[in-house]
Every structure is written in C-alpha cells, then in structure tokens.
Symmetry: C2
Subunit: 152 residues, 2 copies
C-alpha cells in the first residue's frame, strides 16, 4: 500500500515532471501520451496493457493495441514508467529524474510496487559483472513477496 495522502498529487507531480523532462529533451508529451501516463498513475499498483487499453477506450473508443503500446514505449524510453518483466505489467516511475538502476518490491498480496534505489546494489552488480568481464547494459531486479502492510 502506498502512503500518499491525496493521490491526485502523485498524478499531478508525475505529469508535471514528465512535461518538464520532455521539454528539456525536445520530445513531445502529446495528449495521448499524457492520458496514458495519467491512466497508469491511477494507482500505485501495476497495470496491464490491455486493462489500460480498456480504460483508454472509455475516453477514445477507437483506441487499439498499438495505441497503447506506442505510448508505453515512449513513456518507457523516457523513463516515466517501468515495465515489470515478471508480471508483464507497467508502473509509473516515482523519480524519473534521478536514478540509474532501480529495483522493485512487488507485493503478492496487495499488488503494490515499491520502487527503490540502492547504491549498495549498484555496487554489487558492478563488482560481480566486473568479475565476469561482463559489460552490463540493463539490470532487471524484481523482488516479489509480502509488503510491510500485508505482513500482519
């Protein structure tokens, strides 16, 4: 479960940040992409592409799979959302400006996902890939289990 009090703030923050970053980068956060980002941020839980598509269809009944997947691609490329590979699902990024590598704590019970960064983990990954003479490109670290709020 997330601790945000007024979730609207989370959504607005996410949209504003995305807007700013897009301007900096000279890429366009179009109406559609905004809408999709907003739909993803509907909650702190992960969302599936086709659920998103259903949501989008309520707004624009002509939406089709490529509509969603293209927006998802754009949002991922720019770091506004992440794909959770172990779930084939997507989630809004809580700090699109800052991180390099991050990892996810996925609650099997409440579906909430916590996005975390850890210098420690980065170091270990770097050192272990170094030992293997491996040039890392992308790190996927997803930890599923039971979150704080669901343990009791």
């Amino acid at each position: 479960m997330s601790n945000c009090k007024t979730h609207k703030t989370c959504i607005n923050e996410a949209l504003k940040t995305a807007e700013i970053i897009c301007n900096e980068r000279g890429v366009k956060l179009t109406k559609l992409r905004q809408t999709v980002l907003k739909l993803i941020w509907k909650s702190h839980n992960y969302v599936k592409a086709y659920d998103l598509l259903d949501d989008l269809k309520k707004i624009d009944s002509s939406a089709k799979p490529p509509t969603i997947y293209r927006s998802l691609d754009f949002l991922m490329e720019n770091g506004f959302i992440h794909k959770i590979r172990s779930l084939n699902a997507f989630i809004g990024c809580t700090h699109p400006n800052e991180h390099k590598e991050c990892y996810f704590l996925i609650c099997d019970n409440c579906q909430n996902i916590e996005e975390c960064c850890s210098e420690q983990i980065n170091k270990v990954v770097t050192s272990t890939t170094g030992k293997n003479h491996f040039e890392p490109n992308q790190v996927t670290l997803e930890i599923s289990g039971i979150c704080q709020d669901c343990i009791s």
Copy 2:
C-alpha cells in the same frame, strides 16, 4: 559463449542430476519431461517455448502448447530450468542442487546466458528488503549486456 568442451557431457550431467533429484523427491522424470529437458540443453543459449515445441514436434508430431508448458512448469518447479523473464525464454539450470538465489548475465550479442550465484548479492537483497520491512519470496535478477567473448 560457453566453455564446455563436449557439450554432450553437459546434457548427460543435467539429465542424471535431474533423475537423482526426482528420485529423492519421489516425483517422476517421465520420458516426455526428459525429452524436453534434453531439448532445452541443446545449447547454452536460451530457448523459446514455441521453438521447443517445434523441436518436440519432430519427435512427436502430436505435441501441442500444453505439452511443452506442462513440462516446463514441472522442470521449473523442480529447479532444473529457469525462466528468463526479460526474454520470455527458458534455460537449463547449471547447479540445481545448490543455489537459492541466482542471477543471470545475458549476452545481447551471442545469446549465451551465464548463471551466477553471489553471496554478496543475497546479502544486499536481504538487507535492503529488511530495511523496507518486506518479506521476499522470489528474486528475479537479470543483467543483459555484452559478455567477455563478445566484447573484443
């Protein structure tokens, strides 16, 4: 690229180990499951489920998706193979007896996957989940990039 000299040895090892573990556990490594495990071990590269199905069809033309997926499920449950979530692919496990958590170094160039264990990584994961009061269940750590042999 893998360093095995006679890959047949890898396959035989994998099958023998699986056999022994199944006996210990009182579960059955049926003909079909053996065949699928052998097909997965055809190389050290990862394999896709439907490629596997095509291979299996050459042996038993009546094979269908559930044939493969059931065997894959069994082999995963017993730790003889792993699913690589970032690729929707499967790979034989190199040490089904020993490890708890492991991680994968996936070469984008040659498709080889190195399965590694690191006490260090386990510790960091434990400590970081602990800090978040998170009860971990399953850890997915997949690092893609360029392997030693493909860097030059």
